[in-house]
């Protein structure tokens, strides 16, 4: 131990906003060429040497320098858009940095790519080979680990069935099993991409612990602070693309919570448009008792208003929301994806979704709302911890006393009767 596994030096990644929402059409090129012919030619010839200082570009990461030793399990903490996922993408070489460099020792694998390249028409056996080679295994290696992969996924009987007939659980088990057998020197895990299935998440986490014991290096991105605390002794704290702290997870978490505590609570937050993806959320507003606010009293009602926009008009916007504590414990969720399927009668470019939660039985605490927004098929804008609100103590039963805050996050308006 003590040997360095990852060494980043002045790492930076710049994106041009809007670059990716719409692909360029020849028409734009022609107009661009007409107005600034030399810039166009220069850009076509030397795209990555250009460091853009124009207003429509943002630095997703800037001047990151850090070292991670072999065998360390390191958490990556930060709010949305702090650059966590961009960092993982650079480390896995999916995208190139704009500035600086990072040296990595050995093979980098990630649990962000679970199931990538699975083909529904192919059988389980065929997909193991296909997926294995996609994530960087050699055929010989897959041959050797084949039985292990199958046993881990528990799909022996269905090995020669096309995966389109698999249940979601089987599919995920198989996909995860292949990824888990890559055995890279450096493992990257992004929790955002593994949401949904608790059993699957547990398997991911269990696997991470194992990997760490084998002396490999793990980088773990998560909003779930308790899990980070239990898994990662040290962490990197990112803030708006900058590395603000690289120390013990306790310190980073404390700093992170301080940062969000000191941040003034707003009743309405404008969200940054994701670099990729449409439709997206423009702003979120909290309303209680008819007026915008981010401070509630126990027993108050709560409405969440989401203003969205879309490049191509949509009829079926789908919004999911999760209210959790700042520590990352999820308290409740709601979604019109599963509940009922409202549609606009005409496709819209912009719209407003009003979510009336009614009276929310939350105990006094600070809560954060994460939003999952998209169309009928996919979430195109995931805004973790998009907005925060406080619930203050209030004697909503008029009894002169309140249940202890540690009892639970929710108090349930229950009808008691004696019989």
């Amino acid at each position: 131990m003590g040997e360095v596994a990852i060494r980043a030096n002045g790492l930076g990644k710049q994106y041009r906003i809007g670059e990716c929402q719409k692909y360029k059409a020849l028409r734009d090129i022609l107009t661009d060429t007409m107005f600034s012919p030399f810039r166009m030619i220069r850009e076509m010839v030397t795209p990555s040497e250009r460091v853009d200082s124009r207003a429509d570009s943002i630095w997703a990461l800037k001047d990151l320098s850090f070292e991670i030793n072999q065998g360390e399990v390191v958490g990556v903490i930060g709010r949305n858009g702090a650059g966590k996922s961009t960092l993982l993408k650079i480390l896995s070489r999916i995208t190139e940095p704009t500035q600086g460099y990072v040296d990595v020792c050995g093979r980098v694998g990630s649990l962000l790519e679970v199931g990538t390249g699975f083909h529904p028409e192919l059988t389980g056996r065929e997909n193991i080979y296909l997926n294995g080679s996609i994530i960087g295994m050699r055929k010989g290696e897959i041959d050797r680990k084949f039985d292990e992969i199958v046993a881990f996924a528990e799909i022996e009987q269905f090995l020669d069935t096309p995966v389109k007939f698999y249940s979601t659980g089987m599919y995920m088990r198989l996909a995860f099993s292949v990824a888990a057998h890559l055995e890279p020197e450096i493992l990257l895990v992004d929790e955002v991409l593994a949401v949904g299935d608790t059993a699957f998440q547990k398997k991911c986490l269990g696997r991470m612990g194992e990997v760490a014991k084998e002396g490999r290096t793990v980088l773990f991105v998560s909003h779930n602070l308790p899990i980070l605390r239990s898994l990662c002794p040290t962490s990197l704290l990112l803030q708006k693309g900058h590395l603000v702290r690289a120390s013990t997870t306790e310190e980073c978490v404390a700093h992170y919570l301080d940062e969000s505590r000191n941040a003034k609570l707003l009743a309405s937050v404008d969200l940054q448009r994701p670099i990729y993806g449409s439709p997206w959320i423009k702003s979120v507003t909290l309303t209680s008792k008819g007026s915008p606010t981010s401070t509630l009293q126990m027993g108050d009602d709560l409405s969440i208003g989401v203003h969205f926009a879309s490049v191509s008009p949509i009829r079926h916007p789908r919004l999911g929301l999760v209210i959790s504590t700042r520590e990352g414990e999820r308290v409740l969720c709601a979604s019109n994806r599963f509940q009922y399927s409202l549609t606009y009668s005409e496709p819209v470019h912009e719209g407003f979704i009003h979510c009336d939660l009614g009276m929310v039985p939350l105990m006094a605490n600070r809560y954060v709302i994460s939003l999952y927004f998209g169309d009928r098929f996919d979430d195109s804008h995931v805004a973790e911890n998009a907005i925060e609100f406080d619930v203050n103590e209030h004697d909503c039963w008029g009894q002169g006393q309140l249940p202890p805050a540690r009892a639970s996050h929710l108090w349930w308006p229950t009808k008691f009767s004696f019989q």
Binding site: E19, C20, Y23, K24, A25, L26, P47, S48, E49, A60, G81, S85, T86, K89, I90, L91, S92, R93, I94, T95, E96, P97, T98, Q99, G100, Y101, V102, D103, V104, C105, G106, R107, E113, T116, G117, H119, E121, L122, E126, L130, S133, I134, I135, G136, M137, R138, K139, E141, K145, L182, E183, P184, E210, E214, G215, R216, P274, I275, Y276, G277
Partner: protein, 293 residues
């Protein structure tokens, strides 16, 4: 679980001690990395194998399509240019004369149209996993090569049917195939890299393929061309491919050395410029394709 700390799972060429690699912005006209591409040859093979396996699933006649397409086209051309308005075919039965050129042409048109879309259809892969992006169009070419091999059986059958015996020039067939691959992959690499950024390419392809077919001597001999038009055909990398195929299989040597030489150079230039341009653009593919921050 494997306990030997990853040493077993490293790709060959790296020692048991994990090696360092540097991730940094690539500057200038990055050297073409053959070594890296070679390390990922198995991926190209698996992607091609996937496409071959999947393509004719849920079809009634399956792989027969590979033979049916050139056969149907050949019959149509034979009817028009063999019977209705006969076109001279250098003393070779016209169906055979057309088929020998039609099969490499179909390879070419398939590779350029499918590799153009390949980066888009495989974008989930590209935005999530690292590998040399060139593997994707190469896999497309490999898939097309399987069809090509099957279709060549048709040529063999037709040659037996007409009692046509190839001469010593048959030794040129590998060269012909190499030029076919070079021209297809070169043009394919150019178009697929362009298509990631400018989707106009996708819309232009069907038209481009049709136009290209007309200026490729598939239905007629190069010797029939009017002098003033020869330069157009010499700039077409497919001219040399068709000529080489006819030469090797039908013993009809090209008559105009100039056209053949220029066309051959164009094919080679297309290959290398295509690969370099592709390499050059691949670093921004992910940023253009999107896929979550």
């Amino acid at each position: 679980m494997n306990t030997e700390a990853g040493s077993l799972s490293l790709p060959p060429g790296t020692s048991a001690i994990a090696s360092w690699s540097r991730i940094q912005p690539s500057r200038g006209w990055a050297a073409f990395n053959f070594k890296e591409l070679w390390q990922y040859r198995e991926l190209a093979y698996f992607l091609a194998w996937r496409d071959v396996k999947v393509r004719y699933k849920q079809t009634l006649i399956g792989v027969s399509w590979v033979l049916l397409q050139p056969l149907a086209m050949m019959s149509a051309f034979w009817l028009i240019f063999g019977r209705i308005t006969p076109v001279p075919s250098e003393n070779v039965p016209y169906p055979l004369y057309v088929l020998v050129a039609l099969i490499p042409w179909q390879f070419f048109s398939r590779v350029i149209s499918e590799s153009t879309n390949s980066l888009i259809t495989d974008q989930r892969l590209i935005t999530r996993v690292f590998f040399p992006r060139l593997v994707v169009p190469i896999a497309t070419a490999l898939t097309a090569l399987v069809d090509f091999g099957l279709a060549m059986c048709l040529v063999a059958f037709l040659m037996i049917w007409f009692g046509f015996v190839p001469g010593v020039a048959l030794g040129l067939l590998p060269v012909a195939i190499l030029f076919m691959m070079a021209a297809s992959l070169g043009v394919g690499a150019w178009l697929s890299a362009l298509n990631v950024e400018y989707r106009d390419v996708m819309h232009a392809i069907p038209f481009l393929v049709q136009f290209w077919f007309v200026v490729t001597p598939v239905l007629y001999a190069t010797s029939l061309l009017p002098d003033s038009w020869r330069w157009v055909f010499s700039l077409n990398p497919m001219t040399i491919v068709v000529e080489l195929f006819r030469w090797s299989l039908l013993s009809t040597a090209p008559t105009d050395f100039c056209i053949s030489a220029i066309s051959a150079s164009v094919a080679i230039v297309a290959l290398f410029s295509g690969l370099i341009w592709f390499r050059r653009r691949e670093r921004s593919f992910v940023d253009s394709l999107g896929g979550g921050v």
